[in-house]
Symmetry: C2
Subunit: 421 residues, 2 copies
């Protein structure tokens, strides 16, 4: 949606993976839009549905039921959140509202509350459209899911792109012009004049409907499901942003609401609902965002969470080039690898790199290694695709593995980005 | 070196990872260039060395000895291989000779014998320099290490770039102009006028020295080593293109002479020579080449070799886009995944894609999965980094896994490149 707002994606219809017509024609699935389920009766296996157009209500029956109610943007209880010009970005309709507002009102100053992935993408979109942009976050850094040294590179990028970063400050409220239109955002660090504001401070699972029917909640208030995507209610399954998942590394219940996770859970749920034995293995928590011409991503655990979960995390940090020095198209990335001191298991990795650095490629390698339970020593022996336009003969994950093995075993190793000692 | 020849890499010195001076200063290693070891005496642990400048010979002692004699270009015993204008491309000196010849003689027509990776890279280099290029190969396709349907895309690219492909034809010899300068290449398909020819039909391990001292040879005549890079001769180790390695999937001895393998073997040898317990796990056989603006790569086993090794290979082929349709910078790739019917293990994958398609990223994912012993079902559950500028919510390896699982289990599945059924 940030790309639709900026115009990178021209037509909002391209963001709809499948229309109701396609569902019907290609898949034989009846999708009732503008209908709301008011109540689930798990005993009778019925749902009470209201047609939002006609207001008519009716009962529908099910054999198995999937709850995929998603998540909603978190809107804090502060003054002025209802002012015109104050937005969240969660549903397609939100992006259309923002785009209309931009076109009709021509706002010049934007404040983004929240420096997470949505905030970062919207910094770029608003800047592309020529707006002045300030971003406010209570954390000490943008992209708080990144460790401090890597987040610093994101902050530097934001500032070099003209984004004003107001960190370690919290939202206090919004002020209007007296006629209901936003004029100012108040924060603990002072007030910011603005014409448009985006609240991007997280989402919450939508669970009321299922919970009212007795579905149990898990971590972060998401619907608790097992490996077969079953809730505690017979015949009721849940998948997507409304449901918990499992951390594939620790085995712990977690809530990582991402499209990539939802899609896998949905497939698992479909199999499970039709009787196949399914054990969804969870996710390692891989996430990536483009922030201007920077790639920012992570997978697995960070040091703090790893320690919480009983590991003894060891980290190595490095700067690397995507290709050999002699091949001109390469560019730079910074990387942090986290392994368990006890056995060397890959617990997580974080990358920040130029868009052309293939930092995303290395992140995927680490994501697979983490999922496979590989160790630092396994990293050293990866057989990755090498040719000068693509990578180094000893590519970044191997060098990181070398450095980590050195740290774990005490063997001296001072590789440079070529893997040379 | 092809990039140095074309001028993409400006200075040949950038291709030297470390000079003798750097070895001495940074690593305390004495490198004697212009010296040849004539003989190894494993009983006395000495080597007989000739100083090629002075002609003087002397004995040097060792505790442990590493043989890293590399490989040489294969030169067939045909008429005219010594003509001026007839080259191989193996050593830095070869590339400097070719570059000088290009600059001094201004050849207009090039024939490349061999359509493997070196041949492909040189097609591009010669075309960049404005030469007419023909490529001759006895195989029915360029890049014979790729399966036919993917190699076809390489052929189409070569032809669209103006490269004349003469396939299923063999080299017969070279003809000169009477004064020792190349003028024509004779093949089973007729003669080709040319001013420069490159023989790129493979390499052979250089093993004479070690073999004379009693070192045993393995597959393809390379020096046989164990997981600790030890030859059968006490105190003698081998690594790099002169030595065999292991196929990490099958466990079989193999010879895959690549820089990426050499570097890992060298590190393993160094550890082993200094007493560390080392078990080099081998390689899965990952290889990639840029052919004009196409990425061509493979990892693991192809169907034929998998069958030879006792597997029951099942393949799925697909075309995919690197990013969602609505994100404009994406491009296309074709992919083939090979798994074992019995258990679904990932045996190999092949990709051909646009340079910007991130086909190399997906190849690395498959390479790690193959090394980790992952299955088609594991592919379906990979947690790869998703954001629209980088990938699809259900990215290519997952869709391939879905398709493969469908084929293995009989479950109907007709995903498109979004993973939608």
């Amino acid at each position: 949606m940030p790309y639709y707002i900026s115009g990178v994606t021209a037509d909002h219809r391209d963001l709809i993976a499948r229309t109701t017509e396609e569902f019907r024609e290609k898949n034989g699935v009846d999708v009732l839009t503008r209908h709301r389920v008011l109540e689930i009766d798990p005993g009778n296996r019925t749902v009470l549905v209201r047609d939002l157009e006609s207001g008519a209500e009716f009962l529908d029956e099910y054999t198995v039921l999937l709850v995929s109610t998603g998540a909603r943007a978190f809107i804090p209880a502060v003054e002025g959140v209802d002012l015109e010009g104050c937005f969240v970005l969660r549903e397609l309709a939100d992006s259309m509202r923002i785009k209309s507002f931009l076109e009709e009102r021509g706002p010049r100053r934007a404040v983004i509350v929240g420096a997470g992935p949505v905030g970062m993408e919207m910094c770029e979109s608003f800047r592309m459209l020529g707006l002045d942009v300030s971003v406010v976050d209570a954390a000490d850094r943008p992209m708080p899911f990144m460790d401090a040294e890597l987040a610093l590179k994101v902050r530097e990028k934001l500032e070099s792109e003209g984004v004003d970063c107001m960190l370690e400050e919290s939202l206090e409220g919004f002020e209007g012009d007296g006629s209901g239109t936003l004029r100012r955002v108040r924060t603990t660090g002072g007030a910011l004049d603005c014409d448009i504001a985006l609240l991007a401070i997280g989402i919450r699972p939508v669970t009321d409907l299922a919970a009212s029917a007795g579905a149990a909640l898990g971590v972060k208030g998401a619907l608790r499901v097992d490996g077969g995507m079953r809730t505690n209610i017979d015949g009721m399954y849940a998948a997507g942003d409304c449901a918990v998942t499992f951390d594939a590394i620790t085995g712990a219940e977690t809530w990582i609401p991402l499209g990539s996770t939802s899609r896998k859970q949905a497939r698992a749920a479909a199999d499970s609902m039709f009787g196949a034995p399914v054990e969804f293995p969870g996710v390692v928590g891989t996430s990536i965002v483009k922030c201007f011409d920077l790639t920012v991503g992570r997978t697995g655990l960070d040091e703090g969470y790893a320690r919480e979960m009983g590991y003894n995390p060891v980290a190595v940090s490095m700067e690397a080039r995507s290709t050999p020095e002699y091949y001109p198209s390469g560019s730079n990335m910074a990387l942090k690898l986290i392994c368990d001191r006890n056995g060397g298991r890959v617990l997580g990795a974080q990358v920040v790199g130029d868009l052309g650095s293939g930092a995303d490629k290395r992140l995927d390698v680490f994501a697979v290694c983490a999922a496979a339970g590989m160790t630092a020593s396994d990293l050293e022996h990866l057989d990755l695709a090498y040719a000068p336009p693509y990578s180094n003969a000893v590519d970044v994950p191997l060098v990181a593995g070398n450095l980590m093995s050195g740290k774990l075993t005490g063997k001296p190793c001072s590789c440079d980005s070529h893997g040379l000692e």
